[in-house]
């Protein structure tokens, strides 16, 4: 599957900046391909490429195949690989960097997760603290999948029943952390 993807990258992948992998390559340059990360990963069973193989693909610059794979999006940030890596590489942060690129480029396979993060952070930008129901409402609106809210309904109702979540209408809010978010964006240029 990933082989085909490499040969026929989607338009979004073709537009990936050439240096998209550069910061991640820097992080894993010293990888010796020992596989300790794969053996330590609780999510390896569900990945299409093992973490060890992913680092090799990063160093080989295979962005099209990497950004079609499930691997980095299945990292649940448990830090076992980072703890055990014999070269002391920041592997969890390397996974985060790949997630950030996929989110920034709005790559289709990762939208369920990247939009979840985006709406979470938008809520923080507006209010300073996350408002769980409000950000989920924005998330559902952005995903435009009428079935999606139902998969959260059972837990959502339980939380509301306990007074731990309150219905909040989507709002533009007061822009509590607008300045900080803006300053972070300005740092990049």
């Amino acid at each position: 599957m990933s082989h085909d993807a490499t040969e026929h990258p989607s338009p979004a992948l073709q537009k990936l900046p050439e240096d998209a992998l550069a910061p991640v390559q820097e992080m894993v340059r010293a990888c010796i391909q020992c596989g300790t990360c794969t053996a330590s990963c609780p999510n390896a069973f569900a990945m299409d490429h093992t973490p060890r193989k992913l680092w090799r693909m990063v160093l080989m610059g295979q962005s099209a195949a990497i950004f079609q794979s499930r691997t980095f999006y299945l990292c649940s940030t448990c830090y076992f690989c980072t703890l055990r890596c014999p070269r002391g590489l920041p592997l969890t942060e390397a996974m985060d960097a790949l997630k950030a690129t996929a989110g920034r480029e709005n790559l289709k396979p990762y939208r369920r997760s990247s939009r979840f993060y985006k709406q979470f952070l938008n809520s923080v930008r507006r209010h300073g603290r996350v408002r769980e129901v409000e950000f989920m409402t924005h998330y559902f609106m952005e995903m435009k999948d009428p079935r999606l809210p139902f998969s959260y309904a059972s837990l959502g109702l339980k939380l509301m029943g306990k007074g731990k979540a309150a219905l909040q209408l989507p709002s533009k809010g007061e822009g509590k952390l607008e300045g900080l978010f803006q300053a972070v964006e300005d740092q990049k240029f």
Partner: protein, 289 residues
């Protein structure tokens, strides 16, 4: 004893009882908590997966605000994700003046600056090493004898920073559980991953991480947690996982300070026990007895 307190967003929402129980046991133990004034979100796992500078700037704001608390007491953090985010900044600016300057540029608009923020401590660290099991046992009003409790640590209070416990085979909760009169359920799942946000965005994978944890605790009276994400993953989906696996799971999941609070003689109300999603009838009867 006095700490600066960072509750974090979950403790105002889905983990209200974690906040209530933490404040109640600290009051009972004569420990004062001073909230960081005007604290905001630490970025959770979302900011890390979005932008690395933002993921440091959000906790940095809170560290900078914490500097205003008199006497510079350590920052006590109950949520493991918040703990890691705050600690990460503290560790990374040590010896990286350039990063510190960059964060301070971002913080200018917030009218705060990072100088030398206080130490960042997880609630479990404070309970195990500052308050100590011995002091808890001394303050005990009710023995939880006969209960066997499975200590669940999760990931981010243990890794990547091995600050107060063995990051592979954690044991810091055991003496605390014994101090309540309960015994420790023997298992190997304490430091394993609950899948974190997978239950939200990739439930088919998340379930495969949660189910073995529940299975290994089948004989325990309860699982004790120290993280809102772990707690909700273990308590919120038991019916769904039972349907999928054909194994019935009905296991009490509670926050460690709730368990300790019971031994200190605090009421269900003071510990927010009514807010838990998975407290079995058997467990309720046992603690009422």
């Amino acid at each position: 004893m006095k700490y600066t307190y960072y509750p974090g967003c979950s403790l105002e929402g889905s983990a209200k009882e974690y906040d209530r129980a933490t404040r109640s046991i600290m009051a009972a133990l004569d420990v004062s908590l001073i909230d960081i004034p005007d604290w905001t979100c630490c970025g959770a796992t979302a900011a890390r997966a979005f932008d690395s500078l933002l993921s440091l700037a959000l906790p940095a704001r809170n560290l900078a605000l914490a500097q205003s608390v008199e006497d510079n007491p350590d920052i006590l953090v109950p949520c493991s994700a918040c703990y890691l985010n705050l600690k990460d900044v503290k560790e990374k600016i040590r010896g990286d003046a350039e990063l510190k300057a960059r964060l301070n540029t971002v913080l200018q608009d917030e009218d705060v600056q990072l100088e030398n923020p206080p130490r960042v401590r997880h609630l479990l660290d404070v309970l195990a090493r500052d308050i100590t099991a011995a002091a808890l046992e001394k303050a005990r009003r009710q023995s939880l004898e006969g209960l066997s409790i499975a200590p669940y640590y999760g990931c981010q209070c243990l890794r990547p920073y091995a600050e107060f416990d063995d990051p592979e085979e954690p044991r810091s909760m055991e003496a605390l559980i014994n101090a309540t009169g309960a015994r420790v359920h023997p298992w190997k799942m304490g430091g394993q991953c609950c899948g974190a946000g997978h239950m939200n965005t990739k439930p088919e994978v998340g379930m495969q991480l949660v189910a073995p944890i529940l299975e290994a605790a089948r004989e325990a009276a309860a699982i004790a947690t120290v993280c809102p994400m772990c707690q909700i993953n273990l308590e919120g989906f038991q019916k769904r996982i039972s349907r999928q696996t054909g194994r019935k799971y009905n296991i009490t999941i509670l926050y460690l300070p709730q368990l300790l609070g019971l031994a200190l003689g605090l009421s269900g109300q003071e510990l927010g026990l009514g807010l838990n999603l998975a407290l079995t009838r058997e467990f309720k009867n046992r603690i009422a007895a």
